[in-house]
């Protein structure tokens, strides 16, 4: 705003659309898969859309579907969602510094839009020394939000025509999906140890105590091991 106003604003918007295009290609299939899986798992189209509109968080929307399927209490579903979304806490701290100049309401809305992609794009733009302006931030985030709703709807409509979800393996789509996402973290230090500890802990707790305890106890096992293995002076570079 202010000096140079309109031209700069237009430029910022164009930058955001240019930045968001490759991300949209990657994100769209997830929206379709989520919509289809949600409806095939027995949720209505309205519920499926509310999930995407209110949460706007791919992986944890799948988590809610999976954990709620066990018929466990609401607090444990919320805890699983919190745990899977916990990475946002780290994004939030980093992106908060880049958007410190936003107004109160711009920040309040901006953090709602803080997905993995939004974070990555803001880090990249900020790292290049360019300004992370409200126009750039909300054009990018708004485009991803609209894309997420449209692809969820498309998938949901498609999902209504799926007669037998098991033939398409949809009852087992979530573990496969989580695994593919998990493998994206494999270069982090201690990855294998953390995964093995969490796997052992969760299977043991699943057999002995049943859901929802295997999420909490298995997860805590891996997290505790990571803390124990950390070298006091070395800084990790995730």
């Amino acid at each position: 705003m202010g000096r140079g106003g309109r031209v700069t604003q237009f430029q910022e918007m164009r930058d955001a659309l240019r930045d968001v295009a490759p991300m949209a290609v990657g994100a769209a299939p997830f929206g379709v898969v989520f919509g289809a899986a949600s409806v095939a798992n027995g949720y209505s189209l309205v519920e499926t859309l509310v999930s995407s509109a209110a949460m706007f968080a791919g992986a944890s929307q799948f988590v809610l579907m999976e954990v709620n399927g066990f018929g466990v209490p609401a607090w444990s579903v919320a805890m699983a969602v919190f745990a899977v979304n916990f990475r946002h806490v780290l994004y939030s701290a980093a992106t908060g510094r880049r958007i410190a100049h936003f107004s109160f309401w711009q920040k309040a809305l901006g953090f709602f839009l803080l997905t993995d992609l939004q974070f990555a794009a803001a880090e990249m733009r900020g790292g290049e020394g360019k300004s992370v302006s409200p126009m750039w931030f909300f054009t990018l985030g708004g485009a991803l939000y609209i894309l997420w709703l449209v692809t969820t709807l498309a998938g949901g409509i498609f999902g209504q025509f799926i007669k037998n979800p098991k033939d398409l393996g949809l009852d087992f789509l979530l573990p496969v999906y989580f695994l593919a996402v998990l493998m994206g973290f494999r270069k982090r230090s201690g990855f294998v140890a953390v995964v093995l500890a969490s796997a052992a802990g969760s299977v043991l707790a699943f057999k002995l105590l049943g859901p929802p305890w295997h999420f909490a106890l298995g997860g805590l096992g891996g997290i505790a091991l990571a803390a124990l293995m950390a070298k006091p002076e070395a800084r990790s570079d995730g």
Partner: protein, 100 residues
């Protein structure tokens, strides 16, 4: 149409999600630097939690599911996320169709 219990659960989950998105800025940014063990623990949260969603269903179902998990792991070294999912699902569907 929409079950009110489900909508309430979704709104609770949306609130929890928003807390994680604004919480880092409200809380973490007040610390100059984090203890390395705390930082390592925070870094490990996503992998640890994701694993608990995978391991029990992978090991307590049947051979088709176990095979699909193995193929997804191998595929993820060569393919992107969508490709790895497609490979795992293709194996699952084929193995089930063959009666495993």
């Amino acid at each position: 149409m929409a079950d009110l219990d489900v909508i309430a659960l979704l709104l609770l989950a949306a609130f929890v999600t928003y807390v994680t998105r604004i919480g880092g800025w409200l809380v973490l940014s007040r610390f100059e630097r984090l203890h390395p063990r705390v930082e390592a623990a925070l870094e490990a949260v996503p992998a640890a939690v994701m694993t608990t969603l995978i391991a029990p269903p992978a090991l307590t179902n049947g051979p088709a599911e176990f095979l699909a998990i193995l193929v997804t792991i191998l595929a993820s070294y060569r393919l992107n996320v969508i490709g790895a999912i497609a490979a795992g699902m293709a194996v699952l569907i084929a193995a089930r169709a063959m009666g495993f």
